[in-house]
Symmetry: C2
Subunit: 493 residues, 2 copies
């Protein structure tokens, strides 16, 4: 039996008595390999190593980290085939999706390497006051040891060497990753590459540790530790809020970046869906169904004009969605929850359910739409709670006044999308303001999935989309999550 351990700094620690396995959604069976659960001692040692790294007499420079990132890219590329096999058998996702996500991971590392190689990213402002001869320079410093949770839906791009880890390491923070148990094998391989790069780059031990657990114990110990100075998580509202609440009970408050997804409403006005009908139907249905809708920006609500009888847009969209081929979800527990939530929403709303009943494969997620009237939504706003998977609520509105009432019921979101003409955007400014007050990204004539990973992106939003709307978890500005400003004041003599 192959047993894979925890990386407590450079040491791989295996405890044979507490292990778990990952699951292959395609084969519908457990994978062979076993993963060792980190012991309390492993956790304490990893925490101490991280703190010692941060409190070093002479902290490593950004140039040391650049070397580390360059090595890491090479080591990940060396293992690309191994990673692909592990990824596919632990997530049920396609090889094509693996390639996209792998490239995105490499791309992220490259972007942050470039960023910190331009040390000016740290500078905020500076000034010499000639009347007092006092110089003040404001720049960014690392927050300290960061705890990163692997995400279930991005085994590479938001897990062990994902956006959060790379941004924190780039900022100069040591990182402890609590890996996601669904893809422990993929995470282990990535962790091994990180440790190898850590050793070869001569960055001190403690820069990175990797701990495994299929339950909450390791996570809870880490969250409550005074050694941890920031926490980053991508996942469900339940998970993200529990982490936040536990962290807020610490003696020392720290930033918690829980990105918890949302329903990403799309508001359809009348003008646009008349033209380019098939373009929009393709775009929206793909946004709902792609990779079984397992994205935090999947649109979960569409508002459409009811009295638009010359237009069969919604009928065609419905057909397109439910005829999309079902695929596996990353874990049977996710699929189970998906099916349960569809049933719950149907019961809550008494709406019309659209699902292709010809698909009999119970191991796959059926693309599903639920059609309701906006009056129903207004009186029952809890219908907006996220259904993770290829599901969307279709909400019909009879007037702009009614739409406005509905939009005002919407809670914090990652995105709000408006599809319409310039004339309509101008005319319905108050509706767009409702979106601005509730979302981290406003999209005109596009869909929310396919998030650009540039400096310009903002991926976050008011609660419950995230626990800290002031920071993005995608794009290079996400490094700001792991820094704080400091002013250096010098009296020139």
């Amino acid at each position: 039996m192959s047993l894979f351990g925890n990386f407590v700094g450079f040491s791989e620690k295996k405890n044979t008595n507490k292990i778990f396995k990952t699951f292959n959604p395609i084969k519908n069976s457990y994978n062979q390999e076993s993963y060792s659960i980190a012991s309390d001692k492993d956790v304490q040692n990893a925490l101490e190593l991280a703190s010692n790294y941060y409190e070093a007499d002479y902290p490593p420079s950004h140039a040391d980290r650049v070397l580390f990132f360059n090595l890491l890219i090479n080591f990940l590329k060396d293992d690309q085939e191994k990673l692909k096999n592990s990824y596919c058998k632990e997530t049920g996702l396609s090889q094509q999706r693996f390639t996209t996500e792998f490239n995105r991971t490499i791309n992220t590392i490259n972007k942050f390497t470039k960023l910190i190689n331009t040390p000016s990213w740290k500078e905020i402002s500076s000034n010499l006051d000639l009347s007092t001869n006092i110089r003040i320079e404001k720049h960014r410093v690392a927050l300290g040891p960061v705890l990163v949770f692997g995400a279930s839906n991005f085994a590479l791009a938001y897990s062990t060497a994902g956006g959060d880890t790379i941004a924190a390491l780039a900022a100069g923070c040591p990182v402890i990753v609590k890996s996601h148990p669904f893809h422990a094998g993929t995470s282990y391989l990535v962790a091994k590459a990180i440790i190898k790069a850590n050793q070869k780059s001569k960055l001190p031990e403690g820069f990175f540790s990797h701990l495994q657990d299929d339950s909450h114990h390791v996570a809870q110990t880490l969250i409550s530790s005074e050694n941890i100075k920031a926490i980053s998580f991508t996942g469900s509202l339940n998970g993200g809020k529990s982490i936040f609440d536990l962290a807020m009970k610490r003696k020392t408050p720290i930033p918690v970046f829980s990105e918890m997804g949302s329903t990403n409403p799309i508001i359809l006005f009348k003008d646009k869906i008349k033209e380019n009908k098939s373009f929009w139907i393709d775009k929206i249905s793909t946004s709902i169904c792609n990779d079984a809708g397992q994205f935090c920006t999947k649109p979960g609500i569409i508002f459409y004009p009811k009295n638009n009888t010359d237009n069969n847009f919604i009928e065609l969209l419905t057909k397109k969605v439910i005829e999309t081929k079902p695929i596996w979800m990353v874990h049977p527990s996710i699929l189970k929850r998906y099916n349960a939530l569809i049933y719950e929403r149907k019961k809550q709303s008494n709406g019309l359910l659209y699902q292709n009943t010809k698909n009999k494969d119970e191991n796959k997620a059926k693309p599903t739409l639920l059609s309701i009237d906006i009056k129903n939504f207004i009186s029952n706003p809890s219908l907006q709670e996220e259904v993770f998977g290829p599901f969307c609520l279709l909400i019909s509105y009879s007037s702009i006044e009614e739409l406005k009432k509905g939009l005002k019921k919407i809670e914090g979101q990652l995105t709000f999308s408006f599809i319409g003409s310039e004339r309509e955007f101008e005319q319905h400014k108050p509706l767009i303001n409702i979106g601005i007050n509730r979302a981290g990204r406003i999209i005109f004539n596009d869909v929310p999935t396919g998030v650009q990973t540039t400096k310009h992106m903002h991926h976050g939003g008011p609660y419950p989309a995230s626990t800290d709307s002031r920071f993005t978890s995608v794009g290079t500005d996400s490094i700001l999550r792991f820094t704080r400003p400091i002013a250096i004041q010098t009296r020139q003599s």
Copy 2:
């Protein structure tokens, strides 16, 4: 009897059955005027007005706010004499201090007016991706209604029209001020000027409300309200942490900016205190004693080299401090706590207390030093808890190793100051790194008081100095506390 009410938007609400009075520390008696405690209905109405302002169909522009600020400056200047009388009789501080604080308040309003009149302050970055024809523009938007607490130690500059209120209003957030009961009269006069400017500038009602209470009830209701989207406080660790803890129990987490002061250690190396001895003695003693040491950046700990027998620096500093004329503190309860904490520190440490026993006026705060050895401090780091007032711990160290151990015991601070030669700064880099990991501002050869209010300042620091080390509460960057980024994505057709 003159009774002053609460401003619930434009309406002044007086409840005659629940009132309180302010205290004159110089006369040692209550002032005549009475202040009405806000009723639960007043609080709810103020919250609704603020939310309605924020959720307006067409939010006011920055130009509307510029007009408001210009009017406010005029109205405050019109009332300068009235304000001075009220300020002095409610704080025991001098007319000179009033003038400094009044000018600083006007200066703050001017700076933020200038800032928002340059609308580019909101822009973060933007980009047009030519391959997809997608434009993304990232800029800052207002967080929503902000709750500001008046500070006890700055009746003008960190109270009703102080840095927090002005920064939040400048950002476009409506503000509810819970005034500080120690200087309710000063706060009332300022609130009246704000409401007048609000009305004259034609900004909608709800932009500002002002609520009074001499207990915790009004504050607790406001903190727990889902209408509030950020909270700002300057004061004690106890007060700031209680606000934070209560806010974290809300359904929706929000930013809480509690700036809670610190002990602002000064580390004296050997080289500098040999030269310019009297310059440094003047500077440091003033920093400890000025305005009865009622500043969050007052130095509360000085580390000095013990084996420096050719140097009587510490003896001369001690003499200078304890011979500084005692003055009143802003409230007898603050003075009572000051005296109790000195007694507690003396008991905890069994150190040597220096105080001028010739001063018999029990209504004034005696400048006090407590001398201990660093070994004592290392084994009892709770000695570092802030003593608000003209008090400082003198800690002697025998070696740099010992100093290092002592510095590592220090918790989060607003500032860390090092006084020494360039040679010493270079030689003791690891000690400076300890400061960088623990403070929001590092000061070389200067004292922490006299905080510059420029863009370049950072006033904040790791807990317990503040609950959010990532933001400053002084200088124009403090506006960032009340904003979040938003990305506007447009597919160009």
